[in-house]
C-alpha cells in the first residue's frame, strides 16, 4: 500500500526558502523507534526487571483538606513482606516546586506532607515491600487520623474575601512579581467599550482533563555499585526529574543517572516529578531496586490533569465586525499545588486576545489554588482552553451580527507587523491564508475583498 501524503503547497515559503528546498516535508520518514515497537523490542521503563526488586505503594489521603493528627505505621510494618515505610521525615529536602529550575517560587509542595493534606489522594506514607500485593496491603494498613479543614473547590470562591487561605504562603493565588494575577494592559478597553456599537460578554468553563496514557506514570530505581542511582522512568522531562530529584535528595546531580525517552503515551502530562524522588529515597534506604508505578485508579485520581479553566470574555465590536476592545478574565484551577500551572497561566495571558489584532486589550489571568487534584501540563496547556473560549466567542459574535464567521475572523486576523497585546510584534502569521484555503477546500464562498487579503499586507491605519 502506497503511503498517501498531502501535496504540500510550498509557494508560501518562497521568501524564506527556495521552492525545491524542502527535503523532508511531504516525504515519508520512518520513525526511529518503529521497528522496536512492531517486534516487541522497545524497552519501556517497566520492562526492566532487576533482581530483588522491591515495590513501593502509597497510603493516600481520604480527605480533601485536613490536618494530620496521627499517622501510625505500626500495622503496616507487621504485614508480611513489608520491609520499610517512609514519611516526610525520611525526605532530605521535602519542599519543592518543579519550576524552581526556572526561578518559580515558593517551594509549595512537599514530597510527603508534614502536618496537613491539601487534596484527596495526596500521598502520605510510602510502603516498600517484596511484592506488589504486600506493598498494597501495607499501604492499606497505615492508620491516619484527620481533623477536617474547610475545603475550597471553586476558583472564584477561593479568591473571595473571607475564604481561608489553604496555602502556607498565605494566599489562594500564585503571586506574579507581587501581583495577584498575570496582567496584560494594552490601550484603553473601557473607553473603547463606550464607543463600540455592541458589547458582548460571555463565560466559558472547562473541566479537568485526564491524559489517561495507556502506560501509567512510574519508575524503577536501581542502586549502582559506584553509589549512583540508575533511574528508569517514563517521564517526558528527564532533566526536570534529574534536577528536582537531586535537589530533594540533597545529592550532586552526578549521583543520578536517568534513563528515559521511551514514553507509553504522555500527551504532555508526564512532566511532573512525583514518583522518582521518593523511589530514589526508598532505593537508598533499602539498598535494593525499587519500583513505584501508579495503578490505573491512581493514574486517574492523582496524576495531574489539564487544569479546569473559567474564562470570561467581554468584547466591544463595531457594526461591521471590527473588534475594538477585548477584556478577558481567566481563572486557572491549579488545584492544591503549583506544578506547571504558574507557567501555563502566563502562557494563557500572552496568548490573549487570540490570533486577532485588537487595539484595546485587558487581561487578568489568575492562577488559583483549590483543594482539587493538582493540575499541570498537557499539550498546549494555557492555550487550548483559551482557544476554545476565544473561538466560541468569535462564533457567537458572528451569529449576533448575522455575519459569516470566517469573514469576522479574516477582518480581525493578525498580520505581520501588528503589535500584539503583550508587546511582541507578530511575524510569520498565516491565519488569513489558512482560513482562505480552508474555505476553498470546503467550498465556502468568500467575497473578493476577503479572498484578496494577505498576512503580509500591512493593515490600513
Amino acid at each position: 500500500m502506497a503511503l498517501q501524503t498531502e501535496q504540500i503547497d510550498r509557494s508560501y515559503f518562497t521568501t524564506e526558502r527556495g521552492e525545491d528546498d524542502h527535503a523532508v516535508i511531504g516525504t515519508p520518514v520512518q520513525r526511529a523507534d518503529a521497528l522496536g515497537h512492531v517486534t516487541g523490542g522497545t524497552e519501556f521503563f517497566e520492562d526492566v526487571n532487576p533482581t530483588g526488586l522491591l515495590h513501593l505503594k502509597m497510603h493516600r489521603s481520604e480527605r480533601h483538606h485536613a490536618l494530620l493528627k496521627r499517622v501510625d505505621v505500626t500495622k503496616a510494618l507487621e504485614v508480611p513482606g513489608v520491609v520499610r515505610v517512609l514519611t516526610h521525615e525520611d525526605v532530605p529536602a521535602n519542599w519543592y516546586t518543579i519550576l524552581r529550575l526556572i526561578g518559580v517560587e515558593p517551594n509549595d509542595e512537599p514530597v510527603l506532607p508534614e502536618d496537613r493534606v491539601l487534596y484527596k489522594g495526596e500521598q502520605i506514607v510510602a510502603v516498600i515491600a517484596t511484592s506488589e500485593a504486600a506493598a498494597l496491603d501495607g499501604a492499606a494498613a497505615v492508620e491516619v487520623e484527620y481533623e477536617d479543614l474547610p475545603a475550597v473547590f471553586d476558583v472564584e470562591e477561593a479568591l473571595a474575601e473571607g475564604t481561608p487561605a489553604i496555602k502556607p504562603h498565605g494566599t489562594n493565588y500564585f503571586l506574579y512579581e507581587g501581583h495577584h494575577c498575570r496582567r496584560i494592559r494594552f490601550g484603553d478597553v473601557d473607553a473603547a467599550f463606550e464607543e463600540a456599537d455592541h458589547v458582548f460578554e460571555w463565560r466559558y468553563q472547562s473541566s479537568p482533563i485526564e491524559h489517561a496514557p495507556t502506560e501509567p506514570t512510574g519508575c524503577i530505581v536501581v542502586p549502582q555499585a559506584d553509589g549512583r542511582l540508575r533511574i528508569h522512568s517514563d517521564t517526558q522531562a528527564c532533566f526536570f526529574t534529574l534536577d528536582n530529584a537531586a535537589l530533594i535528595l540533597e545529592t550532586p546531580f552526578s549521583k543520578l543517572r536517568l534513563i528515559g525517552g521511551t514514553v507509553g503515551g504522555g500527551f504532555g502530562g508526564k512532566v511532573d516529578v512525583i514518583v522518582e524522588p521518593i523511589a530514589c529515597i526508598a532505593a537508598m534506604a533499602t539498598g535494593k531496586p525499587v519500583k513505584y508505578v501508579y495503578g490505573r485508579a491512581e493514574e486517574m485520581q492523582v496524576s495531574s490533569p489539564r487544569a479546569a479553566e473559567r474564562v470570561i470574555i467581554k468584547d466591544g465590536v463595531m457594526a461591521d465586525g471590527t473588534i475594538v476592545a477585548r477584556k478577558v478574565t481567566l481563572y486557572v484551577d491549579a488545584g492544591a499545588y503549583s506544578r506547571h500551572s504558574p507557567y501555563g497561566t502566563t502562557k494563557a495571558a500572552a496568548h490573549m486576545p487570540g490570533p486577532y489584532t485588537i487595539p484595546n486589550v485587558w487581561v487578568d489571568a489568575h492562577c488559583v489554588y483549590t483543594n482539587r487534584t493538582p493540575a499541570s501540563a498537557m499539550r498546549g496547556f494555557g492555550v487550548t482552553i483559551a482557544d476554545f473560549a476565544l473561538e466560541s466567542q468569535m462564533d457567537r459574535i458572528a451569529r449576533a451580527l448575522d455575519m459569516d464567521p470566517l469573514q469576522l475572523r479574516l477582518k480581525n486576523a493578525y498580520r505581520d507587523g501588528d503589535m500584539k497585546a503583550h508587546r511582541k510584534v507578530a511575524e510569520g502569521t498565516a491565519l488569513i491564508e489558512v482560513i482562505q484555503r480552508g474555505a476553498q477546500l470546503v467550498g465556502h464562498e468568500l467575497p473578493g475583498e476577503y479572498r484578496g487579503l494577505s498576512s503580509t499586507d500591512p493593515r490600513e491605519a
Binding site: 500500500m1 517486534t39 516487541g40 522497545t42 526487571n49 489517561a212 501509567p216
Partner: protein
C-alpha cells in the same frame, strides 16, 4: 498457599517456571520469562495492551491466572518474526504504514489482528474494527492501525504465503 511449577509452550518453545498463587499470565510472561511485549496498562482487562494468544485465542493476559492454563500454548509478539528476523506481514504493514506512535498498544493490536487474519484472511473494515475493539490506542492512531491490518491481509493473500499465524494459531 505455595508456589506451583507451571509449564507452558511459549512461541513454540517449552517453558517451566515457578508461579506464586495469584500470578497472572501477564506477570508470568513478563517477569518469569522476560517476554515484555505484553504490557500492563490497566491490570483490569480494559486496555488490551496485554493481549496475547492462548491456544490460538486472543486473551487479555492480565485477567488469566497462570495456574489455570498450565500446559497451554502461548504466542506473543516476540515470536512473530521469522527465523532470520524477517517480519511477519502484520509487523511489516504496521512498520511501513505508520501504525505505531508511542508503541505501547502495538503488541496487543498485532496479536488481536493475528487472530482475526487466521480466522478471516479477507476481513472487511468492520471486521477489523471489531477485532481491535478491546484494544485502546490512546494516541488515537486507529485509522493507521486499521489500514495496516487490511494491508497485511492483502499482502498475505497476494503472496499466498503460509503465515506464522496459521502455523502457530
Amino acid at each position: 498457599m505455595r508456589s506451583r511449577v507451571i509449564e507452558l509452550v511459549v512461541n513454540d518453545e517449552p517453558q517451566e517456571f515457578l508461579a506464586p498463587p495469584g500470578t497472572t499470565l501477564l506477570i508470568a510472561l513478563r517477569e518469569s520469562l522476560g517476554l515484555t511485549a505484553v504490557k500492563r496498562g490497566c491490570a483490569q482487562g480494559t486496555c488490551g495492551a496485554c493481549t496475547c494468544l492462548l491456544d490460538g485465542e486472543a486473551v487479555m493476559s492480565c485477567l488469566v491466572p497462570v495456574e489455570t492454563v498450565d500446559g497451554a500454548e502461548v504466542h506473543t509478539l516476540e515470536g512473530m518474526a521469522g527465523p532470520d528476523g524477517e517480519l511477519d506481514e502484520l509487523q511489516a504493514a504496521f512498520l511501513e504504514g505508520f501504525a505505531t506512535q508511542c508503541g505501547f498498544c502495538t503488541s496487543g493490536m498485532i496479536m488481536a489482528a493475528r487472530v482475526l487474519l487466521a480466522e478471516q484472511p479477507d476481513p472487511s473494515r468492520e471486521d477489523v474494527v471489531r477485532a481491535i475493539s478491546g484494544n485502546v490506542c490512546r494516541c488515537t492512531g486507529y485509522e493507521s492501525i486499521i489500514n495496516a491490518i487490511l494491508d497485511a491481509a492483502e499482502r498475505r493473500r497476494a503472496t499466498g504465503a503460509i503465515s506464522y499465524t496459521e502455523k502457530g494459531a
